[in-house]
Symmetry: C2
Subunit: 83 residues, 2 copies
């Protein structure tokens, strides 16, 4: 069994209005040290052992989990040792 952690972030050139809104809220709360906020997605997948896991996760990201026109992604694969 593997745990796959996928991070999907907006490309730097893409505006992030949700991040801007959160930044403004933080400023209202006197956290003025915050200069920028970017909001992305974090996915955790539990995956059974399979051949070509890395390649298959890459496909899942390209086809479904990330919109590669406006988003970047990266992932980490960890083996889950049964306890």
């Amino acid at each position: 069994m593997f745990k796959v952690k996928v991070y999907v972030t907006l490309r730097q050139s893409v505006l992030d209005p949700q991040g801007v809104a959160v930044k403004h809220s933080l400023h209202t709360m006197n956290y003025n040290e915050v200069e920028e906020v970017r909001i992305g997605k974090y996915l955790e997948l539990q995956v059974k052992s399979t051949e070509n896991l890395e390649q298959r996760v890459k496909e899942m990201c390209e086809k479904l989990l990330a919109n590669t026109v406006i988003e970047d992604y990266r992932f980490e694969i960890e083996e889950v040792v049964p306890s």
Copy 2:
């Protein structure tokens, strides 16, 4: 300047219908090795140097970035070296 990476995830006891929908989509696409999908948020903050940064980030998470009734959070603080 610091980069703060915040990971917000649903608590394990909380249903994640969005994750279930993504899992079903992956199965439809023949990625049947995926057993569970949980979807969370990933935030990147650019923060100016300040006293008690770790404590202040913890407060931001508790007050705004995470809903601690149903979500867990963790964060990492990295110093950004100007290039």
